[in-house]
C-alpha cells in the first residue's frame, strides 16, 4: 500500500511522564474562537456578554481590525448592571432585540459567556431559552461560555459546537453517516469531500456547517471523525446522542491524513486496494511538497509553548515527516481520549501540560532551540533574544489540514528559518 508503511520510532509518548505546571498562562481565552467561527458560519452572530476587556481582546488579539460591521459584538456590562440597578436580563433582551433588528440576515445567535458574566452568575442558558421563545422560527438562540476561567483558546470552539449538538436534527435512519468535526477552511473540506466520495464513504457532513441554520443530523449511525484535537466536550455530547467516535490521529501531514482517512475507510470497509489507489496521487503530491521544506527543517531543535492544542499533532508531523528534534511540547491540557493515537506516534520528548510561563521561558532560553512555537505575546521578545519563532495563531487561521496543505504546513515552520538566512541586516 503506497504511503501507508509507517516508520516506527520507539514506542511513542503514551507512557512518558508529563510535566504539569501551574502559574501564569500566556494563552488566549475561549472567546478567541469567535474569530474563525463567525467566518465559518456566515449566518451566525456571536454576542459576548462581558466587559470592555472582552471587546478589546476580540479586536486586538485576532488582528481583525478591519472595522467592517462584524458578526460579533460585546454587550458590555456597566456599573448599573452590576449594582443591580438595571435588571441584567432585561438589559440583555434589549441588546439582543437591538442587534437582531439591525441584522435580519442572522439565523443563529450565540450568547457567549465571559469571565465577568460567569462570576456574577448571569444565566445565559435561561436567557437563550427565553429569547428563543420570542424569536421562535426566526432565529435560533444558543449559548456557551468562552470565559478564561473555564476555557483556553480553542476550547471556545469546543464549547460552541457542543452548544449546537442538542439543536442537531435526529438522523432519519440508523444508516451509517460520517460527521467530520472541527472548523476547517471550506477549500479543505471540499478536498476531503472529494476524497470521501472517491472512497465510496458517505453521506458525509461537516460540523460546524457553513450555515448554522443547516445543522447536520446525528444518530446511532453517526461516525464521528475529528479534524481538530480539541473537541472533547462536543465528542461526548455527540456520543450521548448515539454517535460513535472513530479514533485516529489528526489529518496533518501525509501520515496523519492517511491514518485519519483510513479510520473512516475501515469503518466503511473500503478495500485496501481502493484506499491505496484513492490516496496515491494526493499523498504523493504531499510528499513532494513536504520534501522541499524538509531540507530546511531536518535536524532542527523545536520548542512548543502551549497554545492551541494543536501542539502534539503538529509536533508529531514535524518530527516524523520533517526530521525535527523535539525539545519540549507544551499543551494547555492533555485529554487522553483525543490524543492517545497521536501520543503513540510521537517520538519521546518532554511533554508539558498547563503553564508557568516564566519557568517555561527559562527552560526555553537554556535550551536555545532553533525554532520556538509560541503565542504573539512572546514571539518578538524571544526574537530579540536571538531565537527564531513561529507564532502559533497562524496555525489555527491558515488551511493546514490534509494532503494538499501538508507542504503549506511545513512551509509555515520553515519560513522563519529561511527568512533569517536571507537577512543580512
Amino acid at each position: 500500500m503506497t504511503g501507508t508503511a509507517l516508520p516506527v520510532i520507539g514506542t511513542g509518548c503514551a507512557d512518558l511522564p508529563v510535566l504539569k505546571e501551574r502559574g501564569q498562562r500566556e494563552v488566549f481565552c475561549g472567546l478567541t474562537g469567535i474569530v474563525w467561527l463567525h467566518r465559518k458560519m456566515q449566518d451566525a452572530f456571536f454576542l459576548v456578554v462581558g466587559s470592555r476587556t472582552c471587546a478589546h481582546l476580540l479586536q486586538s488579539a485576532a488582528g481583525v481590525m478591519i472595522f467592517a460591521e462584524p458578526r460579533f459584538a460585546t454587550a458590555i456590562l456597566g456599573d448599573r448592571d452590576l449594582a443591580g440597578m438595571a435588571d441584567c436580563n432585561e438589559e440583555l433582551d434589549r441588546v439582543v432585540r437591538q442587534l437582531l433588528a439591525r441584522r435580519p440576515d442572522i439565523t443563529t445567535l450565540f450568547l457567549v459567556g465571559s469571565c465577568p458574566s460567569e462570576v456574577i452568575k448571569l444565566d445565559l442558558a435561561r436567557a437563550a431559552a427565553r429569547l428563543s421563545r420570542e424569536y421562535q422560527g426566526a432565529v435560533r438562540i444558543l449559548n456557551y461560555s468562552g470565559s478564561g476561567i473555564e476555557t483556553t483558546f480553542t476550547q471556545g470552539e469546543d464549547a460552541c459546537l457542543k452548544a449546537m449538538v442538542p439543536a442537531m436534527p435526529a438522523a432519519a435512519s440508523d444508516e451509517r453517516a460520517l460527521l467530520v468535526c472541527g472548523t476547517m477552511a471550506d477549500v479543505v473540506e471540499d478536498q476531503f469531500a472529494r476524497l470521501f466520495a472517491e472512497l465510496g464513504i458517505g453521506p458525509v457532513h461537516f460540523f460546524p456547517p457553513r450555515r448554522a441554520a443547516a445543522l447536520p443530523p446525528v444518530g446511532p449511525g453517526t461516525q464521528v471523525l475529528l479534524a481538530q484535537p480539541f473537541l472533547n466536550e462536543t465528542t461526548r455530547a455527540l456520543v450521548a446522542r448515539g454517535a460513535t467516535l472513530l479514533s485516529a490521529p489528526y489529518p496533518f501531514g501525509v501520515e496523519g491524513t492517511t491514518a485519519w482517512l483510513r479510520a473512516a475507510a475501515e469503518a466503511w470497509a473500503v478495500t485496501p486496494a481502493r484506499f491505496a489507489s484513492a490516496i496515491a496521487a494526493p499523498a504523493q503530491r504531499a510528499r513532494t511538497a513536504v520534501a522541499r521544506y524538509r531540507e530546511t527543517l531536518d535536524g532542527k531543535r523545536l520548542f512548543f509553548f502551549p497554545d492551541s492544542q494543536l501542539e502534539i499533532p503538529l509536533a508529531r508531523f514535524l518530527a516524523r515527516e520533517c526530521g525535527v528534534e523535539l525539545l519540549e511540547v507544551g499543551t494547555p491540557y492533555l485529554d487522553r481520549l483525543l490524543v492517545d493515537p497521536e501520543l503513540a506516534l510521537l517520538p519521546p520528548t518532554q511533554l508539558a501540560e498547563g503553564q508557568d510561563v516564566e519557568r517555561q521561558l527559562d527552560r526555553c532560553r537554556a535550551q536555545h532551540p532553533d525554532l520556538t512555537i509560541c503565542g504573539l505575546g512572546l514571539a518578538n521578545p524571544l526574537e530579540a533574544d536571538g531565537l527564531r519563532t513561529k507564532w502559533s495563531i497562524e496555525l489555527v487561521f491558515s488551511p493546514v489540514h490534509g494532503f494538499d496543505q501538508a507542504g503549506d504546513l511545513a512551509e509555515l515552520f520553515a519560513r522563519p528559518l529561511q527568512r533569517i538566512a536571507k537577512l543580512k541586516v
Binding site: 476587556t53 456597566g78 470565559s147 478564561g148 512572546l378
Partner: protein, 535 residues
C-alpha cells in the same frame, strides 16, 4: 449594558499596563484570569517592543474561585518581586478580579516589601484605558514624590537654564516617541532643558525628582493632566497646557513657555522652520480651499487638528468629535468655534453615520475612521490612536513642533492628491485609450486584459466606484418624505458637472429641493440650487 462592535479604548488596566511598560524598573501585578494576557501583544506585536511588558498575571481559574484566589495574588507578588527586582510595584485588578473583591492592592501592601507598592483601583465597568493610564501615573507620582509641607514656598530656582518635565508620552501613545524628540529640540531652541520625560522611559528614581524641574509640559492631557494639576496644586509647579501640534499652536506653545520660564522666545519664533506656511500659500494648494473635513480623534489631537485644518490649510471643518469623554469640554469649545456641535461618543456606528451624513471630502481620524472612510470612498489621514502597527513608522515622524507640522502637511494632503488621482482614472476610463480593453501602456501592445490586471492589483476597497455619488447615503433625501427624485434631464445635466464637485452638487440640490418641497429635480432645480448655494 452597551452593545459594542469595536472599541476606541481598552479597559483601564490596559492604561495601567501602558504606564508600567513605558517605564523602567516598574512592575505590575495584575489579578486577572487566563486570557487577559492578550494585552501583551499590543506591546510586543503592535508596537514591536523587544521585551515583554513588565506584567505578571495571577491567572486564576474557575476552580480557584471561592478558594485561594487571594493566595494567588500573594504568591504572584512574591515571585514577581524576586524574579524582576522592580524598584516600584503596581498591584491591581482586571475586570473579573474586581468582581471577586480580593483587595489585591491591600494584600500586596501587607507584604512589607522594601519597595514602594502602589495599589491601583481602576473601576473597569465605568472607566476606560486613558483614564486608567492617567490614574496610574498619578498614583505612582503621588507615591514617589516626597511630601511637601502645605503652603511652604517653592525653593528658589538655582541659576542656570530652566528645566521642564515632559508629561504624557506613553507606550502605545500616538507618535509619542517622535514627539518627545521634537519637543525636546523645541525647548532647547529657547534655552530650556528637559528634566524628566514621563511616563515614557522614566525610572522611579526620576519620578522622585519631578519637583526639581521648574515647570511641567502637558503633552497629552488624557494621560498627564491629573498628575500635572496635582503637581501644580500641591507643589506649586506651573504647567504649560498648549500642545504644540501645528504651526500656530507651536508658536503659542513657545510663547507660553517663555512666560512660564521667563525666557525670550522671539529669536526662536523668528527662526521658525516649518515648511507648512509656504506650502500652504503655494498656488498649487489652492485646490485645498474649503475642503470639507471631518475630524474624530482623542481630545488632544482632535482639538489640534481642527485649528490646523481651518487656519493653516484653509479647510472647512464640517464635523468634530472625540471618544475621550474626559476631554469633552475642550472639544465642545473647539467645535463651537467652528459653528459645530461636537460629537462626543464612543459608538463606532454612530461615528460612521455622522461621517456619512456630513459627506466630507477628507476624514481625519483614528484607524477606525480610516476604515469608515475607505468604505465611503473618502480620502483619510490618521491623526490619533487607538494604536495600530502603522503608527510606529520606522522613520522619525512627529506630530508636534515645526517638523510635526511638516509631517502633518504631507500626511493630510497626500490622500487628497491620491483621491484626485483615483477620480482622474475613473474619469478617463471613458476615453478609449484608458478603457478596460487597453493594456497598461508600459506593457506594450501585447498586454491585453487590463481588466484582469486591475482586478488583481487593485484591492476592491480602494477601487473608485464607477459612480461615486450613488454609494453615499443622501441625508437630505432620507430626511424628506416623499423622497426627492431626479428627472432624466436633471440627472444628465448633473453628469456634466466636473466629477470632483458632483457629489456636493447632488447633495446641495437634493437638500434645496427637499427644503422647498420639490419632488422632481429638473435641470432648472439644479441651477436654482447652484445659484442659491454659490460654487
Amino acid at each position: 449594558m452597551q452593545l459594542t462592535l469595536w472599541t476606541y479604548e481598552g479597559p483601564p488596566h490596559v492604561g495601567a499596563m501602558r504606564v508600567a511598560t513605558s517605564m523602567e524598573g516598574v512592575h505590575y501585578v495584575l489579578h486577572a484570569p487566563q486570557g487577559d494576557t492578550y494585552a501583551d501583544l499590543l506591546f510586543t506585536m503592535i508596537e514591536r517592543r523587544a521585551a515583554r511588558p513588565p506584567v505578571t498575571y495571577t491567572t486564576f481559574q474557575a476552580r480557584d474561585l471561592g478558594g485561594d484566589t487571594a493566595n494567588l495574588v500573594v504568591s504572584a507578588v512574591r515571585e514577581a518581586y524576586q524574579r524582576f527586582a522592580p524598584r516600584a510595584l503596581l498591584v491591581g485588578d482586571s475586570c473579573t478580579a474586581e468582581l471577586i473583591q480580593d483587595q489585591s492592592g491591600a494584600l500586596a501592601m501587607g507584604m512589607q516589601l522594601p519597595i514602594p507598592v502602589v495599589p491601583l483601583e481602576l473601576p473597569a465597568y465605568s472607566k476606560k484605558e486613558n483614564w486608567g493610564a492617567a490614574e496610574t501615573f498619578y498614583q505612582l507620582v503621588r507615591a514617589l514624590v516626597p511630601a511637601r509641607a502645605p503652603g511652604a514656598p517653592r525653593p528658589p530656582r538655582p541659576g542656570g537654564r530652566p528645566r521642564a518635565n515632559l508629561l504624557g508620552p506613553t507606550s502605545l501613545g500616538f507618535r509619542s516617541r517622535d514627539d518627545v524628540r521634537e519637543v525636546t529640540q523645541l525647548l532647547a531652541s529657547v534655552g530650556v532643558d528637559v528634566h524628566v520625560v514621563a511616563p515614557l522611559g522614566a525610572t522611579p528614581e526620576q519620578l522622585r525628582t519631578l519637583t526639581d524641574a521648574d515647570f511641567n509640559v502637558v503633552l497629552h492631557a488624557e494621560i498627564a493632566l491629573t498628575t500635572a494639576s496635582w503637581l501644580h496644586r500641591v507643589h506649586g509647579m506651573p504647567m504649560v497646557r498648549t500642545v504644540p501640534i501645528g504651526v500656530g499652536a507651536t508658536s503659542d506653545f513657545l510663547a507660553e513657555v517663555g512666560r512660564v520660564a521667563e525666557v525670550d522666545v522671539s529669536p526662536a519664533l523668528d527662526a521658525a522652520s516649518s515648511r507648512l506656511p509656504w506650502y500652504s500659500r503655494s498656488v498649487d494648494s489652492t485646490y485645498l480651499t474649503g475642503k470639507r473635513v471631518f475630524i474624530f480623534a482623542d481630545g488632544t489631537h482632535a482639538v489640534a487638528a481642527a485649528r490646523i485644518a481651518r487656519d493653516e490649510l484653509g479647510f472647512t471643518v464640517v464635523g468634530l468629535g472625540t471618544y475621550s469623554r474626559e476631554m469633552a469640554r475642550e472639544v465642545r469649545e473647539a467645535a463651537a468655534a467652528h459653528g459645530l456641535e461636537a460629537l462626543i461618543c464612543d459608538d463606532y456606528l454612530e461615528v460612521e453615520a455622522a461621517i456619512a451624513a456630513a459627506a466630507p471630502e477628507l476624514v481625519l481620524g483614528t484607524q477606525m475612521e480610516r476604515h469608515i472612510a475607505k468604505r465611503l470612498h473618502i480620502p483619510c489621514a490618521v491623526i490619533s490612536g487607538p494604536f495600530h502597527v502603522q503608527d510606529v513608522p520606522a522613520r522619525h515622524s512627529p506630530q508636534m513642533g515645526w517638523e510635526g507640522a511638516n509631517v502633518i502637511f504631507d500626511t493630510w494632503v497626500h490622500p487628497l492628491m491620491m483621491g484626485l488621482e483615483e477620480h482622474l482614472i475613473t474619469m478617463f476610463r471613458e476615453d478609449f485609450e484608458f478603457g478596460d480593453h487597453a493594456g497598461a501602456s508600459h506593457l506594450g501592445k501585447t498586454a491585453g486584459g487590463a481588466a484582469v490586471l486591475t482586478a488583481a492589483v487593485d484591492p476592491p476597497a480602494t477601487r473608485a466606484p464607477a459612480a461615486p455619488d450613488v454609494r453615499v447615503p443622501s441625508p437630505a433625501a432620507s430626511l424628506s418624505a416623499p423622497e426627492v427624485r431626479w428627472s432624466a434631464d436633471g440627472e444628465r445635466e448633473l453628469k456634466k458637472i466636473p466629477f470632483f464637485v458632483r457629489k456636493k452638487a447632488r447633495l446641495n440640490t437634493e437638500r434645496f429641493a427637499a427644503e422647498r418641497g420639490v419632488d422632481v429635480i429638473t435641470v432648472e432645480t439644479l441651477y436654482e440650487a447652484k445659484a442659491h448655494y454659490g460654487k
